[in-house]
Symmetry: C2
Amino acid sequence: MRRDDDSPLSLPESGGGNVAGPQSGRGTSVLGIERGLVRRLLDTLGDPPFSVILWDGHPVEPVPSDPIARVHIRDRGAFYRLLRHPDLHFGDDYAAGRIEVEGDLAELLTVVDLTRQQRHGAGGGRPGLTSRLYRARRNTLAGSRENIHHHYDLGNEFYALWLDEDMLYTCAYFEDPQMGLEAAQRAKMDHVARKLRLEPGQTVVEAGCGWGSLARHLAREFGVTVKAFNISTEQIAYAREQVRAEGLEDRVQFIQDDYRNVTGTYDAFVSVGMLEHVGTDHYRELGGVIDRVLSEGGRALVHSIGRNRPIGPMNPWIERRIFPGAYPPALSETTEIFEPYNFSIQDVENLRLHYALTLEHWLQRYNAHEEEVRRRFGEKFVRAWRLYLSGSIAAFRSGSLQLFQLVFSRPTDNELPWTRHYLYPGAGG
Amino acid sequence: MRRDDDSPLSLPESGGGNVAGPQSGRGTSVLGIERGLVRRLLDTLGDPPFSVILWDGHPVEPVPSDPIARVHIRDRGAFYRLLRHPDLHFGDDYAAGRIEVEGDLAELLTVVDLTRQQRHGAGGGRPGLTSRLYRARRNTLAGSRENIHHHYDLGNEFYALWLDEDMLYTCAYFEDPQMGLEAAQRAKMDHVARKLRLEPGQTVVEAGCGWGSLARHLAREFGVTVKAFNISTEQIAYAREQVRAEGLEDRVQFIQDDYRNVTGTYDAFVSVGMLEHVGTDHYRELGGVIDRVLSEGGRALVHSIGRNRPIGPMNPWIERRIFPGAYPPALSETTEIFEPYNFSIQDVENLRLHYALTLEHWLQRYNAHEEEVRRRFGEKFVRAWRLYLSGSIAAFRSGSLQLFQLVFSRPTDNELPWTRHYLYPGAGG
């Protein structure tokens, strides 16, 4: 057995799970002590409705009746890594198959998230030493390129397997929870357009345009001209191809550059799902960009994952393995975008449950295409992304993460709609 | 002439406006220097469209063509006080009649506010030394009683002269800007009730209930039971009388006590127009009260005057003479209410222009009842309140002040409406 040298717990040299019999774990044997540790951990989690099965193939007792999932810890190394830093190592060992989950992974993670919130508040209370020392990768111009490349340049084909047909990789807006993902993504684009009060002939700048669907949708459906920025090579290539195919080149321009290099003046600024990658150190700079390019009567909308309060970095496994440089801000942290420029917040909407539902659609499609993902990226990748999607569902369901849409304008602009009725053209009488 | 000893400017012992001829102000005479000072001040304000007439009866030149107002400074003392601390002394000297305004006072103040914002950002830029040293009266339990008494116990008859028939002394909600004040105040109560998603039989606690109309409206129209807190003696007496007259005593209870003494558990917490009087030092305490009394699935709404960013205390004249202890927070300052308790912001709506319109209705009614106010309180009071209402119109029109409605709930509550359609039952198709 590999000695886990970093472990703060003293680990005997001898005794592996495979040599101990089923009963050996109940006494003072090494495995027995380890079972006791799991039991204590489960007790502090409030005796959650899942069972844990150690590497000897036996569950830690008592086993809950009707468990929602069974968590298999396949070897002792995974066990001690999990004790030391669960937020990082659960992910790595799940991806490597050293931890396996039978049952509903998203539901399991939701239960764990909820339990933590009940114990400590969102995100498990104040950030521990590890996360306080931990620093997200810096989003300098060069750093941003590297961070964005890591996630978004996995290949358009990969994302096409499980995103909607318009390739929107942000929270959809379900006017009704029963509507399909395609319709909900279109409804999101319409909702954003309405919030921006776009009129034909107006100009829009988009910071972080993904595969370009919002830019094309706004030009096609709302008659505006859009300049859209993105630093991802693969996304920009796809966006340009689509805009040519649709014959919208005269009204949509895709620019492969950082949002900080935006020039010109526009009637609307929009950014959907970019703020998570900006980093709080750069919010003031982002606000300065908006201040520089927004016309006097202009409207701005920022759509971003967020949190109820600042509690340090995101889940470290997600941040390291999936989304380098990502950070979901609390509303209080976003003020650096607005206050230095005297922007006036008009509207904040929290669409948290819409993101949980969006992710459920994505996970379902992802699972249906698992074989293709495996062929291209291998088993570890398949498992890592399954965990990432499931964990994200859990975070939005449990309230660890929020989805904020913020609308703001110049402080002296009095050309404001009287009410928000205009956002709900289909509301019944 | 009275020597203004506090003035940092050296003032000659001799030479009054009344002895100098109209031309004497143009040369190097004292009055000429004073005219030069006004001219420079007007220049820094961007040559605003109003004229200033000094105590000799002559305007400072050049006079703008088609001025929106003419400001008369009646004596030299008022002039130097205005130079020294305009935000405080304009009010005092206007109330005393030493400054007079011919024309639209609200429009004049709006122009000044807008000009300042264009120069420095909202509120005239960073707070000066005076306002940084200045501290709003403390809102301890005893301090709050004194501060609230100062404003709200002027007599119900006084407020009845110019408020709507339901005596709502907070921003109305104009579904249409043409609707009357009475209808707009009822629409506000309905809007608040919808945001709280009240259902018959539920319980509501109200912190700072004014004359009790919201509490009665919620009980009568939405079938809930309300416990409403207020520390103003006169308001509570009026509220109790009204609730008896309506026969709603079994469902509305008015308690003359501080919001910090609220006990029990409720389906909804509501506070309309109290936060301005709470003081940022006490926001965490307010959040603690809400956390203590809100049920698991409860909804909370705070409706308050606010600002785009924290720029020190409110206009000192308003704070000293009209509203002791008042402070309109920036959204970033309100986070102490939410973040320590992991509350989840669901909705923020800015109703700034609704408050400008509400105040226009109040001012119109106030002006129509000026004689009655004069009989009871005298000329100085009449002028002070005219200025207060006009200055408030200006602050909301110019964007110096905002009106925020914030809706929040427990972090793990997933019983949320899918969209905000339910807030707009009358929206067209």
